[in-house]
Amino acid sequence: MELEKIIQVLDCQPLTQPLEGGKSFEKAFGSDLMSDVLAFIHDDETVLLTGLTNQQVIRTAEMIDLKLILFVRGKIPSEEIIGLAESNRITLLSTKASMFEAAGILFENGMRGIDQT
C-alpha cells in the first residue's frame, strides 16, 4: 500500500515533514509493547501501529529502521517527539480509528501481517 493510500483510507493527519510520497508498505504490526516490536518485526518496510506516543516509540523504531509509525485513537505526540522522528527520517501519521479498526481497514486494502517465523 502506498503511503498516500494509507493516509486516504484512514483519514490520517500527517505529523512529520517532508512527506516522502511514493513509499510503499506491504506489512503492518500493531503493539504497545516495545520489546515485542523489537522481537517480531524483521522487515524495516513494516508499518507500526501503536497507541503509545512517547519518545521510546521513536527510539524503538530508530533501532530497527522503521520508516512509518501510525498512531491510533487520534493520539498525537509532542513537538519534541515529532522532531526526533523527523531527524531519524521516520514518518508519523495519526488516525482517529482505533487499533482494531485501523488494522481492519488496512487489511481490507491489501495490507498483511508480519511473517510468523
Binding site: L33, M34, D36, L38, Q55, R59, E62, I64
Partner: protein, 136 residues
Amino acid sequence: MKFEYTITTQNFTTAGEASSNTKKTLKLLGIDSKIIRRAAIMAYEAEMNIAIHSRGGKIQLEIEAHRITIVAEDQGPGIADIDLAMKEGYSTASHEIREMGFGAGMGLPNMKRCADSFDISSTPGGKTRVVMTLNL
C-alpha cells in the same frame, strides 16, 4: 575502539541515546546492516533495563576487527533469580513502566537471541553485568 555511555535511572527522555549513538557509530564504520540491527536491539534492551530496573549504570561498546562487544553494568539492586528473569514473559515492571511500553518480559530473551554470545551475572543486592558479543 572503545566507547562508554552513562545511563541514568528513570530518565526516559535520555534513555535510548546510548543505543542511538552506538548505532550511528557502527553505521559510520560501515558495519553490515544486519549486524547493526542486532547490535542496536541488544544495546537498546540493555539500556532500557538499566534505566528501568537498576539504580543506574553504564554501557561499554568495543569494536575490534573480528567482533563487537557490548557490556552493560549497573549499580544494583541485582536479580534474585536469573533463570526466571531470562524467561520470555517474565517481568517485574510496574504499572507505570508498562504504560510506557515496557514490561513484556522480552528484553533479556531478545538480547540473547540477537547476540552470538551472551553472558549475564548478578547477585541479589549487588550489580548486574551483561556481556554480549557479535562476530564480524
